[in-house]
């Protein structure tokens, strides 16, 4: 029997993390009906006063598990290293992207937690913290977009008899990159699909991230299991 190298353990943390993220998403009172940027300072302040506990618990949960996707991105970077490339440039690039999204998310997370720490403070201050939280959360797409584009490119360039990922995975990543792009411009408007509670900046962006996690989780699992089976036969 082969020695445990932990690769599968790291892989199976993915569904656990996904479940925790989904729960935290529903516990946070400002997500299911996303808070509007048109709310006045007083409305924002009373939201933080009324919902203090749920904001704190959901954001503490996110704070604990926000970095949880890094092992998955690293597993993906290692799959890219197995591709038919001549240099490690693309796997280096994925490693360079891995820390960005959790870092940005943690900044947003801290602003939300700060907002709920002293909800009795002047409403304008709470509104400022809330603005900073929502802006940071919504625009946290640059590394995710780059990650999708780099993965797509890596797959297009992986021309060998049995490529690591199938071609549709590359197309799927391009599609996700496109879906994430509008969120970068969220601050331009307070209402409509671009606003941070809007169709594009909130729903399309977050559903695209969720879809990416599910789809990439499945193809990553398949790829890892196939390689391990091949190694067992070879051994």
């Amino acid at each position: 029997m082969r020695r445990t190298d932990g690769e599968l353990i790291l892989f199976w943390t993915l569904p656990a993390i996904a479940i925790i993220w989904v729960s935290a998403f529903f516990i946070f009172p400002g997500f299911l009906h996303p808070m509007s940027p048109t709310m006045s300072a007083d409305q924002v302040a009373s939201f933080y006063r009324d919902e203090t506990a749920r904001i704190r618990y959901s954001m503490i949960l996110f704070n604990w598990f926000g970095v949880g996707l890094i092992p998955t991105v690293m597993l993906l970077a290692m799959q890219v290293r197995r591709m038919a490339h001549r240099t490690p440039i693309l796997s280096y690039s994925l490693i360079a992207c891995a820390g960005g999204p959790p870092c940005l998310f943690l900044i947003a997370n801290m602003f939300w937690l700060l907002g709920s720490f002293r909800p009795e403070r002047a409403p304008e201050l709470t509104q400022l913290l809330n603005d900073l939280a929502w802006i940071t959360f919504t625009i946290s797409v640059p590394y995710l977009i780059a990650q999708c584009l780099l993965l797509a490119l890596a797959i297009y360039w992986d021309r060998q008899e049995q490529p690591v990922f199938k071609m549709w995975v590359a197309h799927f990543n391009l599609l996700v990159a496109v879906a994430l792009a509008p969120a970068a411009f969220t601050a331009l408007t307070f209402s409509g699909p671009l606003a941070w509670d809007g169709l594009l900046s909130f729903w399309v962006k977050n559903i695209a991230i969720a879809a990416w996690i599910v789809v990439m989780g499945v193809v990553l699992g398949q790829s890892i299991l196939r390689r391990r089976a091949e190694e067992r036969i070879a051994a």
């Binding site: 280096y92 360079a96 603005d131 970068a184 411009f185």
Partner: protein
């Protein structure tokens, strides 16, 4: 052979496609960086930290859509840093030094974009989005933005030093040694910018002759040099592990470099 086939071959089959991809991303990134910061958002060259609050509010008002749209593009494209830093890390991997150098540089510079650029963009966006916000808070966002931009020092300083040490130790001749010393100048700019956290006027303030103008000249020179030197490195690359071959003479180079290799 048609032009299209030539382009397609270069994109799909060129043996150095990954390196050229990263190099072009780097060139495009720095072009966009200049255009976005100087022309679209107009937040550079920086205004004075000594300005009164009404002046700061007016400064934001004059740039409202420039900041919101320009930093929107920054949020869209700043992931371009990744292949760029990957190429710099690759240059260290090609040297005779330990791989630790490349990985350390990669992680430091990947980290640096957040406090050094994205936090600035977030603070600017928050400052511009509600012109009716309490002016004192707008001024706090102004300080936050410029100080995070100029005052994120360590990652760039230690990062340039890592590259510098790798270049000076390298036996594979990937970079000329003089570029190593230019890296020292770049590291020093990050050192002398520290007083921007203390002074509101004068040469050390965030818009001052030392903290901004001299530093910008050094940074632009350093960047222009490494863009050219990385290009040479790619042309010289033989995918070996020993000394990097010299630059081939001109006519031969253009052939070896692109379509010639197809025949």
């Amino acid at each position: 052979m048609s032009l299209l086939r030539r382009v397609l071959w270069n994109v799909r089959d060129h043996p150095k496609r990954e390196l050229w991809f990263a190099w072009w991303v780097m060139v495009i990134f720095y072009q966009l960086y200049g255009v976005l910061f100087f022309l679209v958002t107009r937040v550079q060259p920086p205004p004075s930290p000594a300005w009164s609050t009404p002046m700061v509010v007016q400064w934001f008002d004059a740039r409202h859509y420039g900041i919101l749209a320009g930093f929107g593009i920054v949020f869209l494209i700043s992931g371009l840093c990744a292949p760029m830093n990957a190429l710099l890390a690759y240059s260290m991997r090609r040297m005779s030094v330990s791989q630790i150098f490349g990985y350390s540089y990669l992680v430091m510079y990947s980290l640096s974009a957040i406090p050094g650029m994205l936090v600035m963009a977030i603070a600017m966006t928050a400052g511009a989005m509600r012109p009716d916000r309490d002016p004192e808070m707008i001024r706090w966002l102004y300080d936050f933005a410029f100080l995070s931009f100029s005052g994120t020092m360590g990652v760039f300083m230690i990062g340039s030093l890592v590259w510098l040490v790798a270049i000076l130790l390298d036996k594979n001749d990937v970079f000329p040694k003089w570029f190593g010393y230019l890296g020292l100048c770049n590291a020093l700019t990050e050192f002398v910018v520290a007083p921007a956290w203390i002074f509101q006027r004068g040469v050390f303030a965030w818009n001052g002759a030392i903290a901004w103008w001299i530093n910008m000249v050094v940074f632009v020179t350093y960047t222009a040099c490494f863009i050219v030197l990385l290009r040479r490195m790619i042309v010289r690359e033989d995918f070996g592990t020993g000394r990097l071959p010299d630059l081939p003479p001109k006519p031969e180079r253009s052939e070896a470099d692109s379509v010639g290799a197809m025949q």
